[in-house]
């Protein structure tokens, strides 16, 4: 049996404002290593909410999130930041690159924060990641000089820099045209197949979901 990377146990979450609504209802599932999982469902079904709970950024929930056999505490903000830094890579719908830095520095930032390697080594790794994504020639450009597809690829490189246990994506192709969407999908596929990368991607694009290893479908805060 393959190793479990991420596990959700009895996750329930309410939105309090303006009225108490149960957005996540007793969710249980797990993601194994090397799996490419798509989390789909209609708009408003709670899939993004679930992702943010799993990502440790949202701590207002009931139940347990277990990452790499370790239950996430809900209070220790510094510890959670460290977990996100080391074990989770993020790709969002919007690229969220820092315009003040060039591409290389954007990719390096989480690596420098982790501070396990020297600056030179982090830089070397960043180049490697950019090479995997085929954008090493853009390394010294400013983030705001890139096209949308390129930006998203830089964001993926940034997610990879610390060799995370899992990459989480929130509609990573939502803002891209067909060609770039396919490109990003192929990258994900390649990461999974060649680098044994685990991926959990939220998407409402059926053609994207169909091509993954496993689809988790949600409706009204439940997994169906």
């Amino acid at each position: 049996m393959s190793q479990i990377i991420l596990e959700a146990k009895n996750i329930t979450k309410y939105f309090e404002d303006p009225v108490r609504v149960r957005v996540l209802n007793d969710i249980n599932f797990s993601v194994n290593k090397k799996e490419f999982v798509a989390l789909t469902g209609k708009s408003g079904c709670g899939k993004s909410t679930l992702l943010y709970v799993l990502s440790t950024m949202d701590t207002d929930y009931e139940g347990d999130v277990i990452i790499d056999q370790e239950a996430m505490p809900k209070k220790d903000e510094g510890f959670l930041a460290k977990i996100r830094n080391e074990k989770i890579g993020f790709v969002f719908q919007f690229h969220y690159l820092l315009n003040e830095f060039n591409v290389l520095n954007n990719v390096m930032l989480p690596g420098l924060k982790l501070a396990k390697l020297s600056k030179e080594e982090v830089e070397h790794r960043a180049y490697e990641k950019l090479k995997i994504l085929g954008i090493e020639q853009l390394a010294l450009k400013k983030a705001n000089q890139l096209s949308g597809g390129e930006k998203q690829r830089v964001a993926i490189a940034r997610a990879l820099i610390n060799d995370p246990h899992i990459i989480m994506g929130d509609e990573p192709t939502g803002n891209l045209d067909k060609k770039n969407s396919d490109l990003v999908f192929d990258i994900f596929k390649k990461l999974c197949a060649e680098l044994d990368q685990t991926l959990l991607i939220v998407t409402h694009d059926p053609s994207f979901a169909e091509r993954t290893d496993r689809i988790i479908k949600m409706e009204d805060g439940r997994i169906i």
Binding site: A81, S118, D170
Partner: protein, 419 residues
């Protein structure tokens, strides 16, 4: 390593908004400049005004006050011992105006390691004869060398030489007003008479201008020996010893000690000139208050700019947090930004403050009351610079702290989902 990343991010954010940053830094620079200038100038003036009096004043004055004898004869009568004595029409005892055993006192003073120096003094009331009119004046017998060394006597001599009092017998230095009234100049001979009717002729070797008109109209200086001759007293007759200490703050305690030890009256400078200290203190307080107000205003400027920066950089803060920077890291980034504005602005402020005070120091300021002053007075104390930079760091830190705390509390989920 980790700190390095935070500093890099702070630098990038600063440079991305360099115009705003500059405005904030200029605010700090301006306030520190004014703070330094204000304090240096104000303290320069304080020193000047205090110097007017304090330079010339003794730290401790030993003398015998004209007052009734504490030991009235009735005390000796055993029948009234332990009773309260009512005595009417007691008269002051003037015979003891001279300091008893003055030579021994002076010898003991010169052995005291706390004493910088002392100058014996003797005063006589005289009349300066000017044709048919007599002008009342005060003749001070001094030791010119010690007066010059301890009490800056030379600063107030506008023509002639103070030391000539010592070199030549029967010489005198006149107050400027007195010299004008007597219509005399250097090398002229004046005649004075004592209350007992004796007449003396003295040669003018200098003119004295203290800046206090009332003093200049009556004061004159000569050697101690001359005054002793005028008063027909022996050469150990001294009525006052002015003591200068190494530290002015010792004066009150030492005055009490000397009064006990030498059995004379002893008055310290703090008691004599308390009003000057009060004035200086209030002027200092006002200048500090204005300086600090300026800094606080600059602090609000920084606060505003950081708040705006945080609002603009919401996305960046959110992604930093999503990729593993903790709230503490984010807070530190903004504190770095604030502190670097404080350091750069503050140091520039110190420099400009120094330049501005140097310029003020060159502006002519000539007044007949202060013969030795030619430009506006400036006190270049390092203290103001230390206080200035410390305050700029404290205010910028505080101004940065609140926005930084706000930034650290930003919830990345809200921002990322909001898109």
């Amino acid at each position: 390593m980790k700190k390095g990343v935070l500093i890099d991010i702070a630098k990038a954010l600063l440079l991305a908004r360099w115009r705003q940053t500059m405005v904030a830094a200029i605010g700090v620079t301006f306030s520190i400049t004014m703070f330094i200038t204000l304090l240096s100038f104000m303290h320069g003036l304080n020193d000047l005004l205090d110097g007017l009096i304090l330079n010339r004043a003794a730290h401790i004055k030993l003398y015998n006050d004209i007052k009734p004898n504490a030991n009235q004869p009735i005390k000796a009568e055993k029948a009234f011992a332990g009773k309260y004595h009512f005595i009417h029409s007691v008269k002051s005892d003037a015979s003891k105006q001279a300091i008893y055993n003055s030579a021994a006192i002076m010898q003991s003073l010169s052995k005291d390691s706390r004493v910088m120096g002392y100058a014996p003094k003797l005063t006589a009331q005289v009349f300066f004869n000017n044709g048919s009119t007599d002008i009342t004046g005060v003749l001070n017998g001094i030791n010119p060398a010690e007066e010059i060394r301890l009490f800056h006597f030379n600063d107030y001599i506008t023509s002639g030489k103070a030391i000539d009092l010592q070199r030549e017998m029967n010489t005198i230095i006149l107050g400027k007003g007195l010299a004008e009234k007597l219509l005399v100049n250097l090398e002229d001979v004046i005649q004075l008479s004592t209350s007992k009717g004796d007449r003396f002729q003295l040669k003018v070797v200098g003119i004295f201008e203290s800046g206090l008109r009332d003093l200049d109209n009556v004061q004159s200086f000569t050697s101690i020996n001359t005054v002793q001759k005028v008063l027909m007293q022996p050469n150990n007759y001294i009525t006052e010893i002015d003591v200068k200490l190494k530290d002015i703050n010792w004066a009150p305690a030492m005055a009490k000690e000397y009064a006990q030890l030498y059995q004379t009256d002893a008055e310290d400078i703090q008691t004599t000139n308390s009003q000057f200290e009060t004035g200086s203190k209030i002027r200092s307080i006002i200048s500090y208050a204005v300086g600090i107000t300026l800094l606080v205003v600059a602090g609000f400027g920084i606060y505003n700019i950081l708040n705006m920066m945080i609002f603009e950089k919401m996305d960046s803060i959110a992604i930093l947090k999503a990729t593993g920077f903790s709230g503490k890291d984010v807070k530190q980034i903004f504190i770095y930004i604030a502190i670097s504005i404080g350091i750069v602005g503050g140091l520039a402020g110190l420099l400009f403050g120094f330049i501005l005070t140097s310029i003020i120091d060159q502006i002519p300021f000539i007044t007949p009351a202060l013969p030795t002053i030619t430009t506006y007075p400036i006190n270049y104390s390092i203290d103001f610079y230390i206080i200035g930079i410390s305050f700029s760091l404290i205010t910028t830190y505080l101004a940065g702290w609140f926005p930084a705390r706000k930034a650290s509390k930003i919830d990345p989920v809200v921002i990322i989902r909001g898109k």
